[in-house]
Amino acid sequence: MTSRQKRFAFIGLGLVVLGVATVLVLNAFQKNLVFFFTPTMVANGEAPKGQSFRIGGMVEDGSLKRENDGLTVHFVVTDTAKSVPVTYKGILPDLFKEGKGAVAQGQLAADGTFVASEVLAKHDENYMPPEAAEAMAKAKKAKASGAQSSNTLVIQTQ
């Protein structure tokens, strides 16, 4: 092989490796993105069925129920506008509390319950997980703009 051919062989080989790597990465990336939905979005049916996603919001006060096995828990996650019942089997993280923010990952069951495979609470006492905070802020905004649009509607009919 001349050095010119050799160089081409190298570049070709490098491109093949990079190409394979890119395909692998993008494929895995597509399959494993976990999207985040607010309880309002879930209530509107925007969340995918049969696919894992995350929900976040506040754990509703007084909603935490524990089954007799001591491990299966039920609670309700709300963004103040809508709420979603959640079931989880396992030990909850230290910072999980009623009235505090939480994020859960799992799937929506047929009856509309969110079956969580994981409950995340990577935050300190006074701090909301960012997803949960955003869900609440969105719901608040939607309420405000919803109120506004109904106002304009009223004005128009008059």
Partner: protein, 663 residues
Amino acid sequence: MIPEIGHFALILALCVALVQGILPIYGAAVGNSALMAVAKPAARTQFLLVLTAFGCLAYAFADKDFSVLYVAATSNSQLPLHYRLAAIWGAHEGSLLLWTFILTIWMFAVTLFSTHLPDTMRSRILGVMGLVSVGFLLFMLSVSNPFERLIPAAPEGRDLNPLLQDPGMVIHPPMLYMGYVGFSVAFAFALAALLGGNLDAAWARWSRPWTTVAWCFLTVGIAMGSGWAYYELGWGGWWFWDPVENASFMPWLAGTALVHSLAVTDKRGGFKVWTVLLAIMAFSLSLLGTFLVRSGVLTSVHAFATDPKRGMFILAFLAVVIGGSLLLYAWRAPRVGLGGSFSVLSREGLLLANNVLLVAAMGSVLLGTLYPLFLDALDLGKISVGPPYFDSVFVPLMTPALFLIGVGPLAQWKQAALPDLAKRLRWAFGVSIATAVALPFALGTWTPLLSLGLLLAVWIFSTAVVGVRERVGHVAGDGYVARLAGVPRSYWGMLLAHCGIAVFIVGVTMVKGFETEQDVRMNVGETATIGGYTFRFDGVQDVMGPNYTAARGTFHIIKDGRETAVMYPEKRRYTAQNQVMTEAAIDTGFLRDLYVSLGEPLDDGAWSVRLYHKPFIDWIWGGCLLMALGGVVAVSDRRYRPAWRREPQTVPAGARLASRQIA
């Protein structure tokens, strides 16, 4: 008063850093040796000044001076002294000071161990490091000053996050930063070579030990972080592909590629341009990692943006360092030259493949870490990229790289022959295949990943044996032991590091394949059995800690009718912030860990409890330590000792072997 002294020392350090960053580089450009001579004293002065500042902050913490905002925010009067001192790097401002302090330590080390370097080279290296230091000092003094006063003083501090109140957290960040910042030396060497337009094998030999030492620190730092997550977070996991972890893993991948590419530049004068690019990459990723973790951008992109001054400074700093060095690279790299030619199947070719795979892996981690941040910053929705993505990318990318570990060290430089390699490696290959097939059956379960992991681990071990045997055959000397001693330390270091990877793979494979975990409700006196171990729960007692109260459970572990251990997991409540923390109990063994963590109290003294049996998990960290140890052994090789160069008649064994292989 003391905090003001610290603040003032930082201002002086900034002035010195400016002088150090400008005069020596200019002096090297115009050939003025008086200006170049400024570098050494300036670097040492800067070290003393930053040391003073660091000492002042440490004093403020030790003295419980809650009139300093940073002290009040990260410590508490109840916090024991060692944690108060560790709180120096418990948050953003102090971490920056630690970073700068370590940078000046490396600078000081460069002034000590660079007497054999040409003056122009040394002054450029110290100049570049001075410029990096300017960036950090400016950042601290303008928007994140650790000495900022809180007037009136807080009566009590807010306390350090309980998660960080742990011996692991005392050592982990300094180790990690020693690694991050250590790459600044490699970076400075690379920029110095670009500025001088001169990059030869001697350059590579000088920068190699620095890079290896930084890499060792980073390896140990990451391993300690992983260990900390394992016992402190109470989930029993050792790696979560969390952005914080990825931030430290990316420079490691780039640094590993750099260590290998430097070997080619050193031994064969090849890969020059690529080596320089990797050095820039490794340091840029270290900077990115520091800022990702400590700027708050991960907890919330929007919170990061709400403090625009800090965010803008960070982005501008990254742009200047990365953009500037890449610009210099584009301009000057053609002058550096490419190096010798080699065939696809040669040690160079295989090392190149290793580099491409490592960089591809690094790119995939970068994508998975930054993409959610970009989407969020642009308000395009919130997503997260979980462990399945990283797992499914890493296994196929790393498998060929791990396979090459076995082949690369045995291949000749420049041109290797496939039939010859196959002949030398057939025994190792046979043994690996046989183990990978037989062992899972002997252990009772078979999965593709289990076999693959064992195959790769045994492959690395057995090819290491083949390598040593061949080496000993080449080395002159009487008797086996004498010849073993004749094998250079850099070779032993490499083998040790590679075997470390094999040990690591064994750990990961066995944990993934055989771990058992169980969440159970346990009444007092009740037992649960996992992995052949019976756990008997004997209730909880209340205990008092220095700044927390805790419920401490007692578990008796019984195996084959004999009690083997007693374990005391705790559920702590830290009083300052009223925060609950799970403190897992771990019974460590060579072949397995037992792990108990308390969940929540239920009725009648019963608790929900999480039990794990984790075979071989400690091999994961053992492997990392072996890797780092390998680096240390390699650096101690005599070829890196300046004194050796003054005796040209002594040809090291490695060079002799290389020349024989070329012939």
